[in-house]
Structures are given as C-alpha cells and as structure tokens.
C-alpha cells in the first residue's frame, strides 16, 4: 500500500519521476510512464484524494 508519494526533479528542474514510500517501508522510483502499473496506481491514489509531496527542484 502506498504511504507517501513525492515528485522528484532533476538538476535542470524537470519533473522526472515519483518517489514512493510503501507501508512496509520500501522506497521505489516510479517513472512517468502510463504503461507502468505503479504509475497507474499513483494516479488512482491521487484520484482518491491523496496529496503528492511537491518540494520543487
């Protein structure tokens, strides 16, 4: 289960992927690829009213 989602930016200030922390403590990088099922799960998680952490670049 997703615990937190954070937008990750590269040094050129481009939003490049999501950092996801799961309930079991596992941390993963999820690409911005609509064919990725974890990306799909994040979009579902957002649509359920959850908030993505966005600290900018």
């Amino acid at each position: 289960m997703i615990n937190t989602v954070e937008k990750i930016y590269n040094w050129e200030n481009n939003f490049i992927n999501y950092k996801v922390t799961y309930d079991d403590g596992k941390i993963s990088s999820v690409p911005l690829d609509e064919a990725n099922t974890d990306y799909q799960a994040i979009q579902q998680w957002i649509s359920e009213g959850n908030t993505v952490i966005d600290n900018g670049e």
């Binding site: 990750i8 490049i16 941390i27 990088s29 690409p31 690829d33 064919a35 990725n36 974890d38």
Partner: protein
C-alpha cells in the same frame, strides 16, 4: 527442442506443434526471481513465481511458495503452492482470491479476437488440493471488459489431476495491439457473493460480476487447505497439446521483460550481500563528498519503463553505498534516478560520504 521447419504460422517442431504456442510465460513455474517462499500474504502482488500474480481481497492469509511437489512422470520440477495460514470461512461479498496471468495485447493478436475469425483458446494445467469441489477458470478481456468462465472439479483430494478447458473464440472486442494488459487468465480460489450469486457465464459476454465464479469453493475456509498448480498452458485451438517445455535460459529471459534484479538469481532483493552489486559512476577528480553519477543497462528491454527499487549493500531500500574502492564503503547514502527508460537507468548520489563510486543493488519491475 528440434525445430523442423518454418511456416507462416511460425516455427514448428517435428511434432508439427508451433514453438511458443503457449501464451503463458513460465507455465512450468520454474522461474522464481523474487523469492521461493513468501509468508503472510494478505494483498495483491507478484510474490514468488515469475509472471503469476496473486489477486487477493481480504480472503485469508497465505504462504505462497515454489514447491517441488509435482505430478509424477510429466516432466515438471516445480509447482506454485498456496497454503492458507489464516482462514476466512465467511467471505464478505466482495472478497476474492485468484492466481492471475496477465498477457500483453500484442502477444495475442494472432487469435484474431473481435473478428469473425476469432480462434478458440484451450487452457490446460495440472492441479492438486486437499479441498475438493468446484473451481473456476476465467479468461478476462481487460481491453473490452468482457469475460468467459468455466468450472472444473478437483475430484480426489491430494491427487494431481490434469484439467483441460476450451473457450470459444470471441467475435466481439478486439485486443489493443500494445504492451498493456489484454487477456488475463484467472484461476479462482475463493469468492464472495458478488462473484458467485448469478449464473456462470460460459460464453463471452460483457462482465457481470455475479456470473464470474458461480459454484467456486472457498479455499480459505481452513488452515489445512493447500492448492498446487503447474503446467499452465493457454493456446489457440480447440485441443490441448503437450505442455511446451522451454530451456531455462529462454524461460528466464522471457520473464526478464517484466522483472530484473542485480542480485544473484537465488538471492532475494534486500539481502545483505555484495554479490551482483552494481558499481558505477565516479568523480572526475578522485574522491568527492559531492555528486556521483552513473548508469545501469538492463539485461534486456523491458515491457515499459520499470519501477526501480534501490538497495544498499546491507539491504535497506531507497539508498546506496558510496565506495572508495579498496578503502571504505559507506552505507545509507542518498540515491536518485536522473532518468528511467525501458532499457536503462541513469542514477546519481548527491552525497555525503567521501567516495569515488556508487555501490548499489536494484530491482526493476515492469509487470502488468
């Protein structure tokens, strides 16, 4: 496997059976990159056997394992085992448990689904359980929200039985020719009334949940219950051919389109080890407390850009080790991806330990 000839239908063996006729990948359960046993399963996921997903909605707690209990004399060495460790004898309406195999749409275009020439599909597998009774096999069309089910019976407790079912071709609902999920083979192990209260839909139809798993026994009703499966084959046509055994390297290679890791084959991600660890990157001027970068090329192109989980040498996720080769390794250092594609990742560590390169394990997941 002797290749006899090449026809318009593909490679054929001396028995005139097309090679790669089995739509299922790893149907002999021989590949288990993540783990050979996982306990306390209460949620969806790929837990042990590659390409076989567990779909679980609050219906018991399970240990899943790659078992050596197989049907005698059939050539199989491994099976998938589900062992109930916490029972749920009274499922809520929406509860369910299935073993799924999700298939890319582009891999089944030749069955011509959604046309007047749609091919029948035949499912065959070996199954064994102490829990006798009626079970359900379902083919689900995720592109068009259509499905077809058939029930099968486990007649004798604790005895391997081969089951074969032929599903008619579906003249409605074409499968999208892409890398997303098209058909899903689903072997039901338990279901609440949401999925059992109607009449089993044994012809292709738009999904009505109540008709999907009518009569399905509840494998979760006792901690004594176990269920094994192997030799899963899905093929075009109205009859089941012999199971298509593939060399282990071919089988593993096909699984790596969906999942790869840096660890040795038999080592689960998160294990404290340097075996297989990726050493990458470096600084232009020797050691630095600042940025280190590098890239990792996957062993083969993956289905999509994968989700990446990094592990430092000790096994913690989301971090790396920074390395002074021959001098020191500092664990729990930051790591991030600069880019992720279907064939590589570009990585960097922003600091802080003085080092010359990055030491990191990874797993890459592009499952359906």
């Amino acid at each position: 496997m002797a290749i006899d000839k090449v026809t318009s239908a593909g490679l054929e063996t001396s028995t005139n059976q097309p090679v790669f006729r089995n739509i299922i990948i790893n149907g002999d359960m021989s590949i288990a990159q993540r783990a050979t046993s996982t306990a306390s399963i209460t949620a969806n996921g790929y837990h042990t056997i590659d390409r076989f997903n567990t779909f679980l909605t609050t219906l018991g707690t399970w240990t899943q394992s790659q078992s050596t209990d197989v049907p005698t004399g059939q050539g199989f060495a491994k099976s998938l085992k589900m062992d109930c460790t916490t029972a749920d004898a009274s499922p809520a309406a929406g509860d369910r448990l299935m073993i799924q195999h999700l298939i890319e749409g582009q891999n089944t275009q030749y069955i011509k689904k959604g046309t007047s020439s749609a091919e029948s599909l035949t499912v065959s597998f070996w199954v064994k359980s102490n829990k006798t009774g009626t079970y359900t096999a379902e083919i689900y069309d995720n592109d068009n929200t259509r499905q077809i089910s058939q029930s099968y019976t486990i007649s004798s407790a604790d005895t391997w039985e081969k089951k074969t079912m032929t599903f008619a071709g579906d003249t409605s609902g074409t499968l999208t020719n892409d890398n997303s999920e098209g058909l899903i083979l689903q072997l039901w192990l338990g279901a609440g009334t949401t999925y059992t209260s109607g009449t089993l839909s044994t012809t292709w139809t738009s999904v009505t949940n109540a008709n999907r798993a009518v009569g399905q026994v509840n494998l979760a009703d006792s901690t004594s219950n176990e269920w094994y499966v192997t030799g899963v084959q899905l093929e075009a046509g109205t009859s089941a051919s012999d199971f298509e055994f593939l060399p282990v390297d071919v089988n593993l290679d096909r699984c790596k389109r969906y999942y790869q890791k840096s660890y040795s084959y038999a080592t689960s991600p998160g294990t404290n080890t340097t075996a297989g660890i990726m050493t990458t990157g470096g600084s232009a001027g020797g050691f630095t407390t600042g940025y280190l970068s590098g890239s990792i090329k996957f062993e083969k192109i993956m289905r999509a850009s994968p989700t990446i989980t990094f592990y430092e040498k000790g096994g913690d996720s989301g971090v790396c080790s920074r390395l002074k080769v021959g001098v020191s390794r500092t664990d729990n250092q930051p790591i991030a991806t600069e880019s992720i594609s279907d064939n590589s990742i570009s990585i960097y560590s922003s600091g802080t330990a003085d080092a010359g390169s990055i030491d990191v394990h990874f797993e890459a997941k592009a499952e359906l």
